[in-house]
Point group: C2
Chain length 658, copies 2
């Protein structure tokens, strides 16, 4: 007797349910058969509110306002708009030392880049410097990232340059400048609106894969544009696609290239790339790469000045205005024919700028383990660009390369941006005239060196290895940018990304499950070849919410499993399938089309004399099964909290593997 008991004990300890008739009877009263919970009835309003909150306010931003007095709430609100009020209280001299050094370092890096990037946007060099003065100041008060370095960046400058000059081809005209401010203003409005209405998740739709391709394409496009400065070509195409640019370069080879310019350009390019290589190999020498551009500018300007190389055809910066940012509030187009293009360019530039800034913010926040509120960050970016557009700045955002330098130089708060901003202010007030003789070739070298790190071949290889669809999106963006333009590249990437989501929603995975030997666990038989099917039963799992876009497919796929499996089993002499169990755990939601599909599935199965059993429908699904009366149609006794319970109740007396 004891022997028998312990035998049974052993079998059961292994989790096996050997349902003999006695065990079956037993099972009905065992406490381990749990009823499927239906969610508590909620009012429509409550339901909608919860849904809305989880979509728009997943981080419950208002939680901290509870249990606060009026003034407390006001101060918290002020703090949430100006995080500086929060962190400034803990600020100390030690932190300032780090911020001061890193501020000086990024200033030395940003000044030559600003001048160069302004040219990418077809603007005079001082506008780049203006942007590096106002925008970082505003950000320092409102932003929540401690490591980001704010200012003009290459990709956004290129985007602005090409989009604006499509509208106004004469970029020396005052209208061009006004349109640039208009676009900047609306970029800021876009960013702020996304933050205020908490629609920040929209930028997630620009996938990592798309950004990798887009950045690489933009970097190559920017690099090709620099051939103008590097080779000293006068008649350069205004198009940005690779074919037009290469054509322009070759057609100028015999009389358009200027050899003095090429010597200067190539020499400093090699210097910059070597500095960059050194910094990459030895992280402690990051400052080598950080000050190399400034050294290049100083040395080359001096050389040109004493050799008077500008008389020999070496193109130089020439005019760069001295003085602090003038107001540009009256320059913005609020009506007229340029309003539309301004808004359009602004929205696109604002989104791209945000994507870059948020990615940078998240990366460094993860490295130092603090958290960034994406929506708040967008408000800060928006405010900074709106203020910028009123003070002669163009679109600013976080620069990846300068942020990395900032981080490595030991910044601890946004004060490093303030330091940088003050250095830039001193520059525009005092030393800008000295840049007059800076050769454009050196600026081109600085740009090429800066954007070279945007081509991330390792990331593309990883995309290929992990997800082919991501790789296609990446390549689509890349080739779109280099063969057409930045906007087309973006459009391709977004379209491919959306197509991927829609395909997944339209053709969700379904699986046939089997029982892992010696357990109560049911798993995909393709993944676990040891899993055995139950005689007379077919267990399937649907791995997606059931919506109009896939309800028909799911119904037909399940019926196809049934027919295929039935054929196979009848050929092998097994008993026919009498029960179809649909494991619903992954089905988060079902809509009316899904309910109809299940009604049709139920009717089809009825005609085939197969019983439909549902296992573990989630709370939302359970609610809908009840409100649609589908639960009554199928029968409450056919809905179980787990596959195991269903198999225990309806399974074969002696468990046969199939």
């Amino acid at each position: 007797m004891s022997q028998r008991v312990s035998d049974e004990a052993g079998a059961k300890a292994m989790g096996e349910i050997r349902s003999g008739p006695s065990s079956r009877r037993h099972g009905d009263t065992l406490p381990h058969i749990h009823k499927v919970g239906a969610p508590p009835k909620q009012s429509v309003f409550k339901e909608f509110k919860d849904y809305f909150n989880e979509t728009i306010f997943p981080d419950s931003p208002l939680k901290k306002y509870k249990n606060q007095t009026g003034f407390g709430r006001f101060f918290l609100a002020l703090q949430s708009v100006f995080p500086i009020l929060d962190w400034a209280r803990d600020y100390n001299l030690e932190k300032f030392r780090g911020d001061f050094i890193s501020g000086l370092t990024i200033a030395s890096l940003c000044i030559p880049q600003d001048i160069a990037y302004a040219k990418l946007a077809n603007l005079d060099p001082q506008y780049g410097l203006y942007t590096s003065f106002v925008a970082p100041l505003v950000y320092a008060f409102m932003g929540s990232s401690r490591d980001i370095a704010i200012g003009p960046v290459a990709v956004v400058s290129l985007l602005l340059g090409t989009s604006l000059s499509e509208e106004i081809s004469n970029y020396k005209s005052h209208e061009y400048l006004r349109l640039a401010f208009t676009a900047t203003f609306f970029a800021g409005i876009t960013q702020m609106a996304l933050g205020v209405f908490r629609l920040g998740f929209l930028i997630d739709f620009l996938s990592h894969a798309a950004i990798v391709g887009f950045m690489a394409g933009a970097a190559i496009t920017i690099g090709l544009q620099q051939l103008k400065g590097l080779l000293g070509i006068q008649n350069f195409t205004k198009k940005t696609d690779i074919i037009a640019v290469m054509h322009s370069v070759w057609s100028n080879v015999h009389h358009g290239w200027n050899w003095e310019t090429i010597v200067i350009g190539i020499a400093f390019l090699i210097f910059l790339l070597v500095a960059k290589y050194i910094a990459k190999k030895n992280k402690k020498l990051f400052w080598v790469a950080a000050i190399a551009p400034m050294i290049s500018v100083v040395v080359s300007t001096f050389c040109v000045y004493i050799t008077r190389a500008d008389k020999k055809g070496v193109s130089i910066v020439k005019h760069i205005k001295k003085g602090v940012n003038p107001s540009s509030a009256s320059e913005i187009y609020f009506s007229g024919k340029y309003l539309g293009p301004g808004v359009r360019i602004g929205v696109i530039a604002g989104m791209i700028a945000l994507t870059e800034a948020v990615a940078i913010g998240r990366t460094f926040a993860a490295m130092k383990d603090y958290s960034i509120d994406g929506n708040k960050e967008m408000v800060a970016m928006g405010a900074m660009n709106i203020v910028g557009s009123l003070t002669s700045c163009y679109v600013a955002t976080g620069s990846f390369s300068r942020s990395a330098v900032n981080y490595m130089a030991g910044c601890s708060t946004a004060v490093s941006n303030i330091v940088m901003s003050i250095v830039v202010l001193l520059t525009v007030l005092v030393i800008t005239p000295l840049f007059k003789y800076t050769p454009n070739a050196v600026l081109a070298s600085i740009i090429i060196a800066a954007v070279s790190s945007l081509v991330d071949i390792d990331a593309a290889i990883l995309l290929w290895k992990i997800d082919k669809f991501d790789f296609i999106a990446c390549m689509g963006a890349f080739f779109g940018v280099i063969f057409k333009n930045v906007e087309i590249g973006l459009l391709i990437a977004v379209a491919i990304s959306f197509a991927k989501i829609l395909l997944q929603v339209t053709r969700p995975r379904t699986a046939v499950l089997g029982k892992l030997p010696g357990t109560n666990v049911y798993r995909n038989i393709q993944q676990y070849p040891k899993a055995t099917q139950i005689s007379g039963m077919l267990i399937t799992r649907v791995d997606s919410a059931i919506y109009f876009s896939n309800s028909n497919y799911i119904k037909e796929r399940i019926l196809r499993w049934l027919i295929d499996e039935g054929d196979q089993r009848s050929r092998s002499g097994f008993i026919p399938i009498q029960y179809l169990i649909v494991e619903m755990s992954p089905v988060t939601d079902i809509d009316t089309s899904g309910i109809h599909a299940f009604e049709e599935l139920y009717k089809s199965l009825q005609r085939k004399e197969v019983q439909l059993i549902l296992a573990n429908p989630g709370p939302i699904v359970m609610g809908k099964l009840h409100s649609s009366n589908l639960a009554d149609l199928i029968g409450e006794n056919k809905i179980f909290s787990s596959v195991t319970d269903a198999v225990t109740t309806f399974g074969p007396k002696v468990e046969d593997a199939v």
Copy 2:
């Protein structure tokens, strides 16, 4: 001793794992700990092929061609284009009896409807009849539905009428007619292309909810349009929105209404609605509703003829051309300024027509338990409309009301369509001149009676009960159609449906799991309040594929669960959370952004001294974890085939509920 054993046996029979040290040691060697299966390495090509096949050819249409000789394959291919070759071999006299009677019945219903619907499309009445002659013939040879009745339908006629007259406002002109044929041609091309390229799933994106709202809106718009005929108004607006129409009706109230017309119209409308009501109450009397329109036409035509009511302002059909369809092959615009509008209208009309036809086909196929190949059906519809556009027909599709009559009259194959087609042929050859005195008011009554059943209030109530989002889509389509126009209504419905999918993909559900007492089953603690959490562990489940659109949200949501739960537990004096288990069963796929998010999650957890454990990643996810080296980072020993195994391995020695 025996007592102790049987006690333990009891506990274990209840599926409980009471992991004492001995049980732990035992567990490691027990056969029930299964390794997580990784999918077999496939070549990129094979992987892509499988994916492509499941997306485009989920029904493996080429399976039957295997093991066939050359001629066999040719015949099978012919059969798949012309299903008549398949079913005609089993055709017999008994089936013909059913088809003959149902063919006559639907012919008597379709002739008055054809004349009325042609007016909706602003075409002369004969074009409706032409369409009911050619299209059903073509369909009978190529279609696979046995119950559908083919011909012009109200909604598509309205859509064509409004879209075409937006392009060419003078609908008496020859250009209007040519544009109608052009749109029909491209509707056919669209349908055929969708079928040939097996993109039929695209019409699933028009959800059931959207169709309910769209149809109701279209029915009301159509009904309002009929006020012109019913009230005998001469100066009627050409707009279709409810405000313009009601304005037009009231501004004509004093001198524009014709009382003789109203008497005729109202009388026959009541007759038709009563007939419809009778048929609805007693299914056997379906033929009452089926022949009522024909009776109305005959009686009213006779009355007008003998009373000469047309002299008193009762508007009549007047001219209706006798004879078989003329060719219209040379009328189609293949170039010029009307090509663009023709293509656009054709694509929209073709999609709407398909949606209706496929829904009808599926409904009746489910009732008789045969299956419809959606893609093949689209090819048949496409061929029918292309042929139609060459023979003076406009867009034809399946009519729901006539298909229902066809079904109830006992049709058994598409031969009933051939019978109907022949009756229509005889009508256009012989008796069309008799329709000259048919009052337009009766046609208006017939349309109103026909479209009244498209307003499905019960369906709308069900939508409200089951899924609020579906209801919003439904109402969006409804109000869009009645307040603006058909195209805007469609656009709203599709936009809301897409937004729903995207929201679900962007904000997927995550749940905290607990153990159901006495089982090894882990379930959502919100749905199963009895489920208990494990001390020192937090178990979460992600219910969606992890893609770029949601990877950040998922990462942050999991961290938020961890912080909230950690706070709560530390307040209650429980030990802190040391293990975070992520149940991955529902995660069908993960892309590079998802992999990055998990890397970041892992790093965040490391800093919080919490171990990340994955339970049951699916085959695709497992493959990507390996190819991205994330599996090595997390540690193979932290990846389990089930939550139970993970809890057994790392869980507390004595299981404490939290």
